[in-house]
């Protein structure tokens, strides 16, 4: 199995942009992907409700744009399109998941986002919740225990903008360890290495090196996904491994980044939605029949297909006893 947990949903919903999304999913099938999450990104302009004082400082155009935009209807269109996509890819090997990423500039502005995400139309419908900090304040939101920080228990993934340098903040061991100790995974998006505009391939190498450094080489913390807005920027498993090798990682590390870490984050997010206190899960989320899976060496854990290490012991040969020479 192969995961790609970040395929961006288009900002302007047209016939063309939706067709582009479909084509990305089709190329992912050709590259043997199985689990894909479609990402809805929310910028601060989308959810921010300014106070009276702040409104006086803003121009009339900005106020108009804020009033015209409706988050609820925007989320509804996302869910509608997602259900249509699910029907189209029903008979194929691909399994689709929902995901939302919230860009955070100032944690004080976050009040309305939780009202919207916990409203009856959107509650428990996002399988994964991610956060994209735009400043150091946004990152510290995850480490705080008080007040709004208590909502950070619902977060699965932290991502960064790899197309630009991290302006104004420097990643530290202490903050990142505090985040990852809660089981939150840190995401690396590889698609910007193919984008030669504005030197974004250089910026990607710089930024990803920083992230890997402060996550202790990312053995148990990092996941890798594409974040591709075109179907040309998607690559297969061996190609991604070679890119990570190019960044200076070892084979045991990047094999975990590709397989085990994304599965665990998906499980975590899925259990939050589908289970009672993460103990009892319901639903039919299996692609093949159980008898077929066992023959191929797979196992079903909470609706996920996971490879088993148990090979038949009869066929396995025992190693010969070593005799020590004097």
């Amino acid at each position: 199995m192969q995961c790609d947990l970040n395929i961006p949903f288009p900002k302007d919903v047209n016939k063309e942009s939706l067709n582009k999304l479909e084509l990305i999913l089709h190329t992912l099938i050709e590259l043997n992907y199985t689990h894909v999450a479609i990402n809805k990104q929310l910028s601060p302009k989308m959810y921010y409700i300014p106070s009276k004082k702040q409104k006086q400082q803003m121009s009339q155009k900005e106020i108009q744009d804020l009033e015209e935009f409706d988050l609820k209807s925007d989320l509804e269109t996302y869910f509608k399109q997602f259900e249509l996509l699910e029907e189209k890819f029903k008979h194929k090997q691909l399994k689709l998941f929902t995901r939302v990423t919230v860009e955070i500039d100032d944690p004080n502005q976050l009040g309305s986002i939780f009202i919207n995400l916990n409203s009856p139309s959107a509650k428990n419908r996002f399988d994964l919740v991610a956060i994209l900090p735009l400043s150091e304040k946004g990152l510290s939101f995850l480490t705080n225990n008080n007040g709004s920080g208590s909502n950070s228990t619902n977060v699965d993934i932290v991502t960064f903008d790899y197309n630009n340098y991290f302006n104004g903040f420097h990643l530290k061991h202490k903050t990142m360890n505090g985040i990852t100790r809660r089981g939150i995974k840190v995401e690396i998006l590889y698609s910007s290495i193919f984008n030669t505009m504005n030197q974004s391939n250089l910026k990607f190498i710089n930024n990803s090196k920083q992230v890997i450094r402060c996550c202790r080489k990312g053995i148990k913390t990092c996941i890798i996904s594409s974040g591709a807005s075109q179907n040309v920027h998607v690559r297969g498993k061996i190609a991604i491994e070679s890119i990570l090798d190019f960044l200076g990682l070892k084979a045991d590390v990047y094999s975990r980044m590709l397989k085990e870490n994304p599965i665990s984050s998906l499980l975590n997010g899925r259990l939050r939605v589908k289970s009672y206190q993460q103990t009892i899960a319901t639903g039919f989320d299996v692609m093949m029949k159980d008898s077929e899976l066992e023959q191929k060496g797979y196992e079903v854990v909470n609706g996920f297909v996971v490879a088993t290490n148990n090979i038949n012991k009869d066929t396995e040969q025992e190693p010969p006893n070593k005799k020590l020479k004097k």
Binding site: T27, L31, I193, F194
Partner: protein, 182 residues
């Protein structure tokens, strides 16, 4: 007497379509067989690999990886090929392959999908033949789903691809690479 160690790479060219509203023949669209041989052939592929290695890793690693680099087999119709390189520096060659976006400054963009790495060419032949059989099965399954008739009904494109794939697996079976000894 020491055998020179090589690594063989089975790769596949995909031509991801930029606009395609009719997704019935999507498997066929990804393996576009209408490309002329003047644009994509073993020479242009090798030139592009060397260019990418030089861009990302510099002259030194190009010189190392270039020792026994050659394309053993390439089929322009099904766009599947086998590449041979030295066992020490195969990782640089794979990086060069995966970084390619266009070949010969062509308008159509390209993904090179590295399917399998192996130490002997026999294993690659077996794998590619097995893969072709699976692909033919997939094409048949898809056409059945699209028709909603419940039985296999071959369209023009799917029957063409079937023919090409069976021809290719015959060609791959014959490839031979003699062992070199120092």
């Amino acid at each position: 007497m020491v055998r020179i160690k090589n690594r063989y790479i089975l790769f596949e060219l995909l031509y991801p379509p930029t606009e395609c509203y009719n997704t019935e023949n999507i498997i066929f669209e990804h393996r576009n067989p209408s490309k002329p041989k003047s644009v994509i052939n073993p020479k242009t592929i090798l030139y592009e690999v060397r260019k990418q290695i030089k861009y990302y890793l510099g002259d030194q690693s190009l010189g190392k990886a270039n020792i026994t680099l050659q394309v053993k087999y390439f089929n322009n119709v099904t766009s599947v090929g086998i590449l041979k390189c030295s066992a020490e520096y195969y990782k640089t060659v794979v990086l060069g392959l995966s970084m390619i976006q266009t070949i010969n400054n062509d308008k159509q963009k390209v993904i090179i999908n590295v399917v399998k790495l192996s130490g002997t060419i026999n294993k690659l032949q077996d794998h590619s033949i097995k893969r072709n059989k699976e692909l033919i099965k997939r094409i048949k399954f898809q056409t059945r789903k699209n028709n909603n008739l419940g039985y296999h009904y071959e369209t023009k494109t799917s029957s063409e691809l079937n023919k090409f794939l069976t021809e290719e697996s015959k060609e791959v079976e014959v490839i031979d690479d003699p062992i070199e000894i120092e």
